[in-house]
C-alpha cells in the first residue's frame, strides 16, 4: 500500500475509489504481484551470490569440460571412459534416462493394454487375478519394487559360473542377462533395403486399397497382406543373400561372460519395475477408456450388421483412444520422472551421473541441478505438447 500512495498522489478517498474500480484494481494487483515476485527473486539471487562468495565458489559451467574421472559401466550408445569430460558423462546420463524411459514406456504400454483388456474379460477368475495383481502392485511404492527386483537379481541369481542357462546362448546371472548379439555381414544392407522398400510398398498399398474401397467397395484384408509382404519380402531377401547373419554368443571366460550382449542387472531391475508398476495404472486407464464408450455404441454398430472386429476398429477404438491418450501421456511422464530412482540401485541415469557423482566431485550443486531439472522439463514439455496437439486434433465437435 505504501508504494501506491507514493506513486499515486491524492487523498485516501481517491485511493479507495481507485481500489473500487475493477480495472484499476486488477492492474494494481498485477503490478504488486510482479513487484513481489521480482523482489523475492532478487533476494534469493543476492543470497546465492553472497553465499557462493562466502565459500569461494563461482557460478560457471566450465567444469563440464574437465575430465570426469569416474566410470560409467553402462553406456550403450556412445563411447565413455573415465578420461571423458563431465559433459560427456552428462550426455551418457541423459541417454540412459531416455533409454530406460523409452523401453519402459513400450513394455508398460504392452502390459497395460493387455491387463486392461483382461480386466474386461467375462472370465471371472482371470478378471480377479489381474485385479489382485493390479491393486497390490500399485499400492506399493515404486522404489520398493525397484529395490526388490534388483535384490532378487543380485542375491537370488547365481554368479556367471552357475548362471541359468537357456539353450547355451541365453544366460541369466547376477551380473546381468547375457544374450546373443546379431552380427551382420556387410551384404546385409540388401536386406535392410528390401525391408524399407516393402514398408514403403505397404504404405502405398494401403492408400491404394483405401482408394479401391472408396471407388468400388471392395475390401482387401489389408492387415494380413501388409504383414505378409513385409515379413515375406524380408525373409526372401534374407535367404537370397545367403543368410548373412551370425550370432555372437556369450561365453564364460574366467569370472564373467564375453561376447554377446550384456544387459546389466540395474537396467533390468529398473526397466521391469517401472514397466509393471506403470502398467497397472495404464491398465485402469485402458479399462476406463473402453468402458467410457457406451454399450449403446457397440449395440448400434452390431445392429447395422458390422462384425465384432469392424465394430472395434471403426467405432470403439477411435472413441476410446481419445479418452485414453491424455492420461496415458501423463503416465508416460510419470514413468520418465520415476526413472530418476535409478540412483537407488546405481543405474547411471542423468540424476546419478550429473546430479550424483559429478555434483560430489565438483561441488557444483547449482549448475548440476539446473542440468538435471532442464532435462526433465524438456521431456515433460515434449510429452505435454504432444498431448495438447492430440487433444485439439481429436476433440469431439459439440454445440
Amino acid at each position: 500500500m505504501a508504494v501506491i500512495s507514493e506513486t499515486i498522489p491524492g487523498t485516501r478517498n481517491s485511493l479507495t475509489r481507485l481500489w473500487n474500480n475493477q480495472q484499476a484494481r486488477s492492474v494494481i494487483i498485477q503490478i504488486l504481484t510482479v513487484a513481489i515476485v521480482f523482489a523475492l527473486l532478487a533476494l534469493i539471487l543476492r543470497n546465492v551470490v553472497n553465499n557462493l562468495e562466502a565459500i569461494g565458489k563461482e557460478f560457471s559451467f566450465k567444469f563440464l569440460m574437465y575430465p570426469a574421472a569416474y566410470d560409467i559401466t553402462f553406456s550403450p550408445f556412445i563411447e565413455y571412459t573415465s578420461r571423458s569430460t563431465h559433459l560427456r558423462a552428462a550426455v551418457v546420463g541423459i541417454l540412459n534416462t531416455l533409454l530406460v524411459a523409452v523401453c519402459g514406456i513400450v513394455l508398460a504400454t504392452v502390459m497395460g493394454f493387455l491387463m486392461g483388456i483382461l480386466r474386461l474379460s467375462k472370465n471371472w477368475l482371470i478378471n480377479r487375478l489381474v485385479y489382485c495383481f493390479l491393486e497390490f502392485t500399485r499400492n506399493v511404492p515404486v522404489l520398493l519394487h525397484i529395490l526388490f527386483i534388483h535384490g532378487i537379481i543380485v542375491t537370488q541369481l547365481r554368479p556367471p559360473r552357475q548362471a541359468m542357462n537357456f539353450a547355451d546362448s541365453f544366460f541369466l546371472s547376477n551380473r546381468g542377462f547375457f544374450i546373443p548379439q546379431p552380427v551382420w555381414e556387410p551384404i546385409a544392407w540388401i536386406i535392410a533395403v528390401v525391408f524399407i522398400v516393402s514398408v514403403t510398398f505397404v504404405f502405398f498399398f494401403r492408400r491404394w486399397a483405401k482408394k479401391v474401397q472408396d471407388e468400388t467397395g471392395r475390401v482387401y484384408p489389408v492387415f494380413w497382406i501388409s504383414a505378409g509382404v513385409i515379413v515375406g519380402a524380408t525373409a526372401v531377401a534374407f535367404i537370397a543373400t545367403g543368410m548373412p547373419l551370425s550370432w555372437s554368443i556369450p561365453e564364460l571366460r574366467g569370472f564373467n561372460f564375453k561376447g554377446g550382449l550384456a544387459i546389466k542387472p540395474e537396467f533390468i531391475a529398473l526397466w521391469l519395475a517401472l514397466s509393471y508398476y506403470t502398467s497397472c495404472f495404464i491398465a485402469e486407464i485402458v479399462r476406463a477408456g473402453i468402458l467410457a464408450v457406451s454399450y449403446g455404441q457397440t449395440e448400434a454398430a452390431a445392429a447395422l450388421g458390422l462384425t465384432r472386429n469392424r465394430t472395434l476398429q471403426l467405432i470403439v477404438i477411435p472413441q476410446a483412444i481419445r479418452v485414453i491418450i491424455p492420461p496415458l501421456a501423463s503416465q508416460y511422464l510419470n514413468l520418465t520422472k520415476n526413472s530418476s530412482l535409478a540412483i537407488a540401485i546405481g543405474y547411471m541415469d542423468v540424476v546419478a551421473t550429473v546430479g550424483g557423482i559429478t555434483l560430489m566431485q565438483t561441488g557444483k550443486e547449482m549448475e548440476t541441478m539446473i542440468i538435471v531439472l532442464l532435462t526433465y522439463l524438456v521431456i515433460s514439455m515434449v510429452i505435454s505438447g504432444f498431448m495438447n496437439w492430440f487433444n485439439k486434433k481429436t476433440a469431439l465437435v459439440e454445440r
Partner: protein
Amino acid sequence: MIEKLKPEPAIQSSKDASKIIIEITGMHKWFGAFHVLKNINLKVSTGERIVICGPSGSGKSTLIRCINRLEEHQEGKIVVDDVELTGDLKNIEIIRSEVGIVFQQFNLFPHLTVLENCSLAPIWVRNMAKAEAEDLALKYLERVQIPEQAKKYPGQLSGGQQQRVAIARSLCMNPKIMLFDEPTSALDPEMIKEVLDVMVELAETGVTMLVVTHEMGFATAVADRVIFMDEGEIIEQKPPNEFFQNPEHDRTKLFLSQILAH
C-alpha cells in the same frame, strides 16, 4: 382423440396372404432369475405395421431387441426371414443387416459426421463404393428432411434431428424390417412431431415395422395391429380401432384409461 382418426389402415386380411417374416413361438427370456418374457407367440407378415405398448417394465423393448438378437432368449424359437436365431454369429450378422433398429437414445457415432454415420454400414457391410454409399445416404437424409446437416457431427444437432439421422442410418441398409425402441421418449415435445412425421411417411412405403411407443395417435394412424404387453406377456393384440374402443382385458382397460387420461 380416437374420433380424429385417419381412415382405417390397410385391412388385416390383405396381409394374411403375404409371407410371414417374423415368427416367434413359445419364447421365454430371463434376466438372471427375473422372468422378463413369458411364452411369447407372435407372427408378423411382410409389410405389417405393429405398435407395441404397455407399462414400463413390461418387456416390450426386450421383445423387439430379441428380434435382432441384441438380447438372447433362453427358450422357444425366433425365426426372422426364414433364418432361426441361434448362437451362429454369421446368421446373426445377416439378420442384423436386414433388420434396422432405432434406439431411444439415438446411439449415433459421435466421432463421425452425419454422412459418415449413414454411409458406414453400406461401405463396410454391403461393400459399396464410397460415392455410391454417400449418394444413398444423402437420398435418405433428404427423405428425413435434413440433407443440409450431412457434414455436421451428431453433437451439433438437436435431439429430433439426431433421431431422424438414426432413422436414415438404418434405412441406408435397405432393411426388410424396421424396429423402433421408444424413438420419441427421449425427445422434447416439440421435436416428437418431426420424428413421428418421418415414421408415418416411412410406414406408407410398405416396410415391416415394429414400434414400441406410447404415442397412441401414431398407433391409430398407422398401425395394422396394436399389441398390449404387461408383466412379460402379450395380453391382447387387435387392430387399433378395436383395441381402443373395446379392449377386452381389464389390464388393457386400466392402461388405456391411464395413458389417455392426460
